[in-house]
Subunit: 131 residues, 3 copies
């Protein structure tokens, strides 16, 4: 398992595609499945659009509207909105690797979503080779 | 990696279960994990109910209500609602294969979700055998 | 593939982390990917916060508010809200195993989410070892 780190701002979608490509190269992952895992409960790992930066802002605002911060949430830390957004967007993502390349669509990138920063965060990579 | 294609309408849930079963048979995938991957940013891959066609209509309308098209979205193409629905429902799905059969619950099917069609779409299959 | 069972109440997040750890031990899963799969269409498998029980209540209420039960849903069984919550939160979860230990963040647990109980439910485990 490989551990990667990043430092986040208050909320945001952080493009980790280049880091994943670098790790695939460094560890010579040739062909198989790469699981990207977020060990935090107020963050997530997703695939999303990588061209127009406005898409990220729209996605974050849509999640904020669908799962708002609410006064009547019970959790004493007051960040239940961040936990729900993490649970709904998901912490574990299986990706395809072929010919030592990460398989993504033309307009896709892989993002670490921060819902409760700023924080020092990490995510894990686990590669399973096909035979 | 296997590439599959489909042509979608404006919005919808397209049952790809039969195609997956055919590919498992054709490529003699016996026992392992099959990742179904959508390389598009306004579509997704999900497991859902496969009996009553009304469930699909209800799911699509629920996503439309939770993540509506909004005038104040920033993305210049105006389809941020489709990007958010894709990100939330997910583009990568690991499925179990045993005895050359796709493991699904009695009422489950695998669906390609289109949020911004009509389009010619593709999805990828990657099989990792257990040892 | 390993089959596990649980009996649920009307709605809830059921912590299955201990059961997963016991199965990893029992079947000596040393290093690889463990897929946890829910074969039901009104339930799901997620990773979430495992410390404050109030987080679970807040997550369930947030999902209820974002995807409410509605009179105008078409599905004859009247539980479309449960199908949509299952589809959005996801039925298949890949987890990392190393040194015969389940890799989770300090505050994470694995949960079976019930949206339409009480029911007798099952979930499946499939382990793929790395080489």
């Amino acid at each position: 398992m490989i551990k990667c780190n990043l430092v986040t701002g208050s909320e945001g979608m952080y493009n980790i595609t280049s880091e994943l490509k670098a790790q695939i190269e460094k560890h010579q992952m040739k062909d198989g499945i790469l699981v990207v895992y977020c060990p935090h409960t107020t963050a997530s790992i997703v695939v999303s659009e990588n061209v127009d930066i406005d898409v990220k802002a729209d996605i974050l605002s849509a999640l904020s509207e669908a799962f708002p911060k609410k006064e009547n949430h019970l959790h004493y830390e007051g960040n239940s909105y961040a936990h729900i957004r993490s649970t709904v967007s998901g912490v574990s993502l299986p990706l395809i690797v072929e010919n030592q390349k990460l398989v993504l669509g033309q307009f896709q990138g892989v993002y670490f979503m921060e819902f409760d920063g700023p924080r020092t965060r990490e995510y894990f990579l686990k590669f399973i080779a096909s035979n």
